[in-house]
Amino acid sequence: MNQELINTFNTIISNATPLVIAALGETITERAGVINLSLDGSLALSAMGGFVAALTAQRAGLPLPLALAIGVFVAMLIGALVALLIAFGSITLKQDQVAIGFVLTLLCADLAQFLGQAYTRQPGPIFPNISLPILSEIPTVGRIFFFHDFLVYVSYALIFGIWYWLFRTRGGLTHRALGERPEAAFARGFAVNRSRYFWVVLGGAIVGLAGAAYSLNVKSGWATPPSMRGDGWIALAIVIFGGWHPFRVVLGAYLFSSLQAVSSALQRSNTQIPLVLLNGIPWVMMLITLLIVSSGALERLLMILPKSLQNRARAILRSDPPKALGTPFEKD
């Protein structure tokens, strides 16, 4: 493969990383039956907080790895706190999850803008690239997947870790039951609401990590309006597209990032399409992806296929939400 193509793929992976991490965080949250709708805001707030913390630590003379660690920690803490509010409001107080999530979306974005006003467009610490020994030696694949910074490797670990947890362990079975049939988990003696709290907060912390992956890595620094504005919604849509399955979710995120790479390549080459209109492409893509997996459109689409392929295609494309998603659990 030629060098330019390899570099393009490398960039796609690294650009997709925050989206991958955010969507994975949301996946474990929704698998527990709670929607964290605040992603677009909490990504911005944690990105801002993580950046400011890392920058302050660096200016205080701390070595780069320590400053970055502090930034990541603060970002995850912010994500976890926002998620804690959602958990408290929706699990303990049984308020509308969508309402609380939406208010937090706006509030966090505004807070990020207000508190980050003194830090816009400043250079700050970023994660350096580390090529993994041995793995990065593999021709082509090594250059694409193992020539990145620390957070990208963390995202790989999360993909396989979350998949293994959800589908290969007993604990993961209970975790999924929280979102599918909480009564069943309850009947087996699990504290449904307490476990939901745990997964919502952990999922939020992972979303916070995604925020750090923007401001300390991909789109480094902080700006108003933030460069990742809108990505939170895209991540939410990718979770649906991915059918709440870590592998498919990640595939969705990489696919999305690839299409964005194509559209920015279009921007560079002199085409007839007005440049501003290209900014609409992610949103059209989001609608199309949701359309593909939504039941009504899917069935209509399948009618075109020959009968023998219909069932197989349905099994691959179908995306059913956890059955108890968004509903409070009353019994304990």
Partner: protein
């Protein structure tokens, strides 16, 4: 604790808490909260001109709020309101820029109708995506907001540029004849538009409370499954609620360009649609409350525009305060229901 005391406490506590947090934030960035309060109040109510500014900000907000009360009644999350408002501005701008030689009242009326129509187109797309194609209105709405915004920037920077070239920041100003006439120099508010707003409030109030359609909407919102079983045409309720809301938001958008800017600009909605969603969340879909709360919001936001110049404070502070108020009220309501009310019989 007695019941009435509890009610008063739970009404005041969330507001007090959110004010406290906001004050803390102001102190964190190194300013004096009292000075900020003074600036906001004088910015909003300092003179009749500034009061006019508040009313002019309030009007599009109120149009959106009235529309959202309709969609909330039907149980719909119309996050696409921002896009419907922008579409309204685009529609009215088209009439302002490209229609010529009409008598002023007719011209303005046509601009308002075009705005309402454009708003309806956007809400129609969102509702068809929901009812026919199974895409949740939240996602449809978020996508349409972004797409309408992109489209407006495209129009401004491309096809709607005058041939001799113009600015990417705004279209050419509309001809004077299509600007709304202010009541007076000191109180620059268009009274007919205010009349239109009150007319719409009355219309929606009657539609919601005194018609079969309003009842069907309520049934759809409360429990779509049983509504369907009772023979309520859910799809039609959803569609009509969206269309009405889109038309109202479009009228708000038309006001934005006909009164405030006299040209089309990027991000013409200025977050008004989102603010309206917060207001309606606060008011719990009670129409007159919602319109009243919208006025307070408009005052705070208009007043806070001076913060940037006077104190170099980001104007997002006002949005932070409003978000905090809504969040606190939601949470304190929950706390009250959970820990203080007697358990319900269900």
């Amino acid at each position: 604790m007695t019941k009435p005391m509890q009610s008063v406490l739970f009404a005041l506590l969330p507001i007090a808490v959110s004010l406290l947090i906001t004050a803390l934030l102001i102190i964190i960035v190194g300013n004096n909260p009292l000075e900020v309060v003074h600036l906001v109040l004088s910015g909003a109510f300092g003179s009749s001109t500034s009061l006019g500014g508040v009313v002019n900000f309030w009007m599009p907000l109120a149009f959106c709020v009235v529309g959202l009360v309709v969609t909330f009644r039907a149980g719909l999350w119309n996050i696409g309101i921002e896009g419907q408002l922008m579409a309204g501005a685009i529609g009215a701008s088209y009439v302002g820029l490209f229609v010529r030689d009409l008598p002023t009242p007719l011209w303005i009326l046509l601009a308002i109708i075009a705005g309402a129509g454009a708003g309806m187109v956007v809400s129609l797309i969102i509702s068809v995506l929901k009812t026919r194609l199974g895409i949740n209105e939240i996602f449809g709405g978020v996508a349409m907001n972004a797409l309408v915004n992109v489209y407006s920037i495209y129009l401004i920077s491309g096809p709607w540029q005058p041939p001799e070239g113009g600015s990417a920041q705004a279209t050419q100003p509309f001809p004077r004849e299509v600007w709304l006439t202010p009541f007076s120099q000191d109180f620059p508010v268009s009274l007919p538009y205010l009349g239109l707003l009150f007319g719409m409030i009355a219309l929606v109030s009657v539609l919601l409370n005194n018609t079969r359609w309003g009842l069907q909407l309520k049934a759809t919102g409360k429990n779509p499954r049983s509504a369907l079983l009772l023979g309520v045409p859910i799809e039609r309720s959803t569609l009509t609620a969206f269309l009405l809301c889109g038309a109202l938001a479009g009228m708000g958008g038309a006001h934005r360009v006909l009164e405030t800017y006299h040209s089309l600009r990027p991000l013409i909605s200025g977050g008004i649609g989102f603010l309206a969603l917060l207001v309606v969340l606060l008011a719990g879909a009670r129409l007159l409350w919602a319109v009243g709360i919208a006025f307070v919001s408009a005052a705070i936001l208009t007043g806070s525009t001076r913060l940037k110049i006077a104190l170099q404070l980001d104007a997002s502070l006002a949005n932070v305060l409003q978000g905090l108020v809504v969040l606190c009220i939601l949470l304190f309501n929950g706390i009250r229901e959970r820990f203080f009310d007697e358990p319900r019989a269900d």
